[in-house]
Symmetry: C2
Subunit: 212 residues, 2 copies
């Protein structure tokens, strides 16, 4: 097969999205959810992962409104934080925060015998109870965020919960889906930081469009 390299980033993205729409075929996502699904498939080349996404009915509206209001975005790990497009958020002024590397989080986690991921969520809930929470890596962070939300300590504008893994990941996401709070999650073991980033960046693009 002759291979013709395309170097223009926008041309690459346009062609990718056309392939994704064609190969995905029929689906039951709404017109406003579909751009998020597309970007997840774009980031993973995994149609099953795209199909596994579950949206709370208010998720897209809540996410767009929260981004436009400049709501802080809380990431569970640094990989998620640096992947979020600062350029797309600049006009809205959302801070992107990650607490897991903080010295006080590490000290308190050790003192209280819990993971740094858990202690980072507790600090986040104090700092930004109404934040957009983005969990791409650690099921223990998502489970703690669910507890904090149930306790009324956190009242997230949106929870993006797509941790990956073999222990607790699928279960943590099922617990999230039972919560009465706007969420975007997926069923099963798959997920990860790149998936979380794709969802945030898709919402940031929607927030930047006048008609969304």
């Amino acid at each position: 097969m002759p291979f013709k390299e395309i170097q223009n980033p926008q041309a690459i993205e346009d062609k990718s999205f056309a392939i994704i729409t064609e190969e995905l075929g029929p689906h039951s996502f709404t017109d406003r959810e579909f751009p998020v699904v597309q970007r997840v498939i774009h980031a993973s080349a995994d149609f099953d992962l795209g199909r596994s996404l579950v949206f709370h009915p208010q998720a897209i509206t809540a996410g767009i409104e929260a981004i436009r209001a400049g709501t802080p975005i809380i990431a569970d790990v640094q990989m998620v934080a640096v992947g979020i497009s600062a350029a797309r958020l600049a006009r809205f002024g959302n801070a992107v925060r990650v607490y897991i590397g903080d010295a006080d989080v590490a000290a308190k986690a050790q003192a209280q015998s819990v993971t740094r991921a858990i202690m980072a969520m507790r600090k986040a809930a104090q700092d930004a109870p109404r934040g957009i929470y983005v969990i791409g890596n650690a099921p223990t962070a998502l489970l703690e965020l669910i507890r904090l939300t149930q306790a009324g300590v956190a009242r997230p504008s949106l929870i993006i919960g797509v941790p990956v893994g073999f222990v607790s990941a699928a279960e943590s996401k099922e617990q999230l889906m039972a919560l009465d709070v706007p969420f975007i999650a997926n069923r099963g073991r798959k997920g990860g930081s790149t998936i979380a980033v794709a969802i945030v960046n898709a919402l940031a693009i929607l927030a930047g469009q006048p008609e969304s």
Copy 2:
């Protein structure tokens, strides 16, 4: 199903790796390649992606030796750079570098009408021609690195090439596999920053073991 949460990070990892080994079943990876395959599956929950990995016969040895020698690690994007375990590399002193955000890279890319990913690889090849190159995101970066290697401008100690996507990703990895240089890659569209990070971190663990 009663759900018992496990919070200890090492216990979670141990259980995850046991599940992976059991569910993967028979495979043809060597004993030294298998820890890398395990960690990729751990990062993706995707057995097909793990099975799609391809190792140059010298890849593991070259990777371990390069890490132990303190060879710089060149990442294509910031998400890869921040995901690489600084703690595991500290004893070897490997710098982790990423050029795509550099102001001079952006300026030269615009002046020469190429992507920043391409220009970043050209700068990397000047700065660290013998580096460990880790491409998790951009097929255009991998294709440029292949050209630089064929031209003798870069002489990578190891190329980890696992870009994801629908345009050029699979083709770029096939070109890498035809190169006479130590590489770790995978067949097909899947891949990504978390996969690239998993491979580097698996090699860093092997480098830290006395018998590897």
